[in-house]
């Protein structure tokens, strides 16, 4: 049930509702409209970074992108520097941020698909270069770091009660689900991940597909970092760090298997919502960063074990 394409999202949503009910019982007021809107906002960011991992893991070859945090920080800092607090320049900042993310993703993809560097090593090494470069850039240039009022409105405010960043996420998620499970490119991606040899023999340009997967991951991560700048109000070093672990957690819980070839973004999106509610519940009962890390790690292990069991049965 958990493995089928609808069972998993349904289970994750059921767990989310159960958590919300528990939250309401422990802390009356946990299920308020404002609360839920707020959680959707946070889930939107997690969901965007989860998309990055979904695409590169599906591309196979032990795919993983550990540079999403560094790329997000890059997107945030570069975007903030270019827009310099002005609404008119916001779009320029956004385009530059996404462009830079695509660029880093291109390097990741070339290293992984062309040179054959293991994704773990490639993305980790490149993320230390990007982080190091940002330290230099920020120390030398002292760029503007504030988000423009327009970006703050987009990332932080709501439209008729629905947070606008959640609407952006919904749009991207719809495109992603179509792209990954309905489009020709999505089929090529999953074929490449499942078995690169047969994919190549049946005419799929596997190198190009993998490079594009890492570019997509970089672009989305940078956009996530840019929007995050608007949500927090300013860009800073280490802005995206927290999303490296969490993005992999939601991808794994959402049903992306490390073996590659599967890209169920619907499940990943539901996992992002579930983990956001879990974190907010843990925060509400005053659990610190330490407890959250432990719970994240254990949740990931439990889901890996469930998947393993189900995989063995089939």
């Amino acid at each position: 049930m958990i493995g089928s394409s609808w069972g998993r999202p349904a289970l994750l949503l059921a767990l989310t509702i159960a958590l919300l009910v528990v939250g309401q019982l422990v802390l009356p007021g946990f299920i308020g409209l404002g609360q839920i809107a707020n959680q959707l906002k946070i889930a939107a960011f997690l969901g965007l970074f989860g998309l990055c991992q979904t695409v590169v893991i599906a591309a196979g070859g032990q795919g993983l992108d550990l540079s999403v945090g560094a790329i997000a920080t890059l997107g945030g800092i570069l975007g903030a520097a270019l827009m310099a607090g002005s609404n008119a320049m916001t779009i320029v900042g956004a385009v530059a941020a996404v462009g830079a993310g695509l660029g880093v993703g291109l390097l990741n993809g070339m290293g992984v698909a062309v040179l054959g560097v293991p994704p773990l090593v490639m993305t980790l090494a490149l993320s230390s270069v990007v982080d190091g470069g940002l330290i230099v850039g920020v120390s030398l240039a002292h760029p503007a770091d504030a988000a423009s009022p327009g970006l703050v409105a987009i990332a932080g405010r709501s439209l008729y009660g629905v947070p606008s960043v959640a609407l952006i996420w919904a749009g991207i998620a719809a495109i992603a689900i179509w792209l990954l499970s309905r489009s020709a490119w999505g089929r090529q991606l999953c074929r490449t991940g499942a078995n690169p040899v047969t994919a190549r023999l049946s005419g799929t340009h596997t190198v190009r597909v993998r490079v594009m997967a890492y570019m997509l991951s970089g672009g989305v991560a940078a956009l996530g970092g840019f929007l995050l700048t608007g949500y927090v109000g300013q860009a800073f070093l280490g802005l995206g760090n927290a999303y490296v672990l969490t993005s992999i957690v939601v991808a794994a819980i959402g049903g992306v298997t490390l073996a590659g070839g599967k890209a169920p973004y619907g499940g990943v999106a539901c996992a992002a919502i579930l983990m956001t509610v879990l974190v907010s519940l843990l925060t509400a009962i005053n659990m610190g960063e330490n407890g959250r890390q432990i719970i994240f790690g254990l949740t990931l292990l439990v889901f890996l074990m469930i998947d393993r069991r189900l995989g063995a049965q089939r």
Binding site: Q62, L64, G111, L115, G116, V117, P118, L120, V121, M122, L124, A125, L126, S128, V129, V130, D131, G132, G133, I135, V136, S139, L140, L245, I248, V249, A252, L258, A259, G288, E289, N290, G291, R292, Q293, I294, I295, F296, G297, L298, L300, L301, L304, M305, R308, A312
Partner: protein, 312 residues
């Protein structure tokens, strides 16, 4: 010589010579005893942790929780007073036991539950880090000075850190020449064939984790002996360093190919690069960037070199 080429250590040795030459030029009295001792005690933790990663990688697994494990052991040493457990030596023994326990957990998860080590150890790493943060929320606390003194001591004029590295390499060499070493390589290069040949694949992998984590425990004690305080973030960087050193040392992440000497060379290259960057007077803001760049360059060099030899 042929054995070295076969092990893929030649390009990494080349890199080592280059960085050594640079370091000798930049660091005054590089070849004097004092700076030698200094360098050895700085490099020892890196070497131990890279060796640990190497043995796990040879068995075709991976451990992304090494860094967090180092932090956890460091925080354990900073939290538990030596007097409560019967002296600093007992405390160090307990730290090693803790390391073995962490290795056993990872080994069980990978072998008995059959989870992919890449992501499963990523998860356990989060748990270790969370536990370390619970013990030491803010960097601080003190570690028994005896541990620091032992570490900076000498035995028969040989610095203790050097002895530890020599002992670790000796253990490695002994393992490598005996059944366990051959089994690890057999399991790493072809688990199915190893299984059919009657080798207990899961057991061998589990032991690889235990041996690896024993080295991690030693490395964590070495780090703690130098800092003498607890910090939940102290180990973080070692995860990347260990994986990079393994790749630079010519050990295939696909398992079964490479030697511990490669890991030693890889660890030395990375350690000396950090030294060079420090002594070259590069402004501190540039240091992170250069370190990352050197790792990427070294990785690229290794990958291209391996490809060239594979074709030849």
């Amino acid at each position: 010589m042929r054995a070295l080429r076969h092990a893929g250590v030649i390009p990494s040795l080349l890199m080592l010579v280059v960085v050594l030459a640079l370091n000798a030029r930049l660091q005054h009295h590089f070849f004097s005893m004092l700076s030698f001792e200094d360098n050895v005690s700085t490099f020892t933790p890196t070497i131990l942790i890279c060796l640990a990663q190497a043995i796990i990688v040879l068995s075709r697994e991976l451990d992304l929780s090494l860094g967090a494990g180092v932090s956890l052991i460091n925080c354990f040493l900073a939290t538990v007073p030596a007097s409560a457990v019967g002296g600093p030596w007992a405390l160090m023994g307990l730290a090693l036991l803790l390391a073995l326990a962490l290795g056993a957990i990872n080994g069980l998860i990978v072998t008995v539950f059959g989870l992919p080590s890449l992501i499963a150890t990523f998860a356990t790493g989060a748990v270790w880090y969370g536990l370390a943060l619970t013990m030491v929320p803010q960097p601080g606390g003190t570690i028994d000075e005896t541990i620091g003194n032992v570490y900076s001591d000498t035995v028969f004029h040989i610095p203790v850190p050097l002895l530890i590295v020599l002992a670790a390499m000796l253990i490695w060499t002994v393992i490598g020449r005996h059944r366990l070493g051959r089994r690890i390589v057999a399991v790493g290069s072809n688990p199915v064939a190893a299984f059919q040949a009657g080798i207990p694949v899961a057991g061998v992998k589990f032991i690889a984790y235990l041996v690896g984590w024993l080295l991690v425990g030693l490395g964590a004690i070495a780090i703690s002996a130098q800092t003498l305080s607890g910090d939940a973030g102290v180990g973080t960087a070692y995860t990347l360093t260990s994986v990079a050193a393994v790749v630079i040392g010519g050990i295939s992440l696909a398992g079964g190919r490479g030697t511990p000497w490669g890991a030693l060379v890889g660890a030395l290259v990375l350690g000396i690069v950090a030294n060079v960057i420090y002594f070259a007077g590069i402004p501190s803001i540039w240091q992170e960037f250069f370190k990352g760049l050197v790792i990427v360059a070294a990785l690229g060099f290794m990958v291209i070199e391996q490809r060239r030899t594979a074709i030849a």
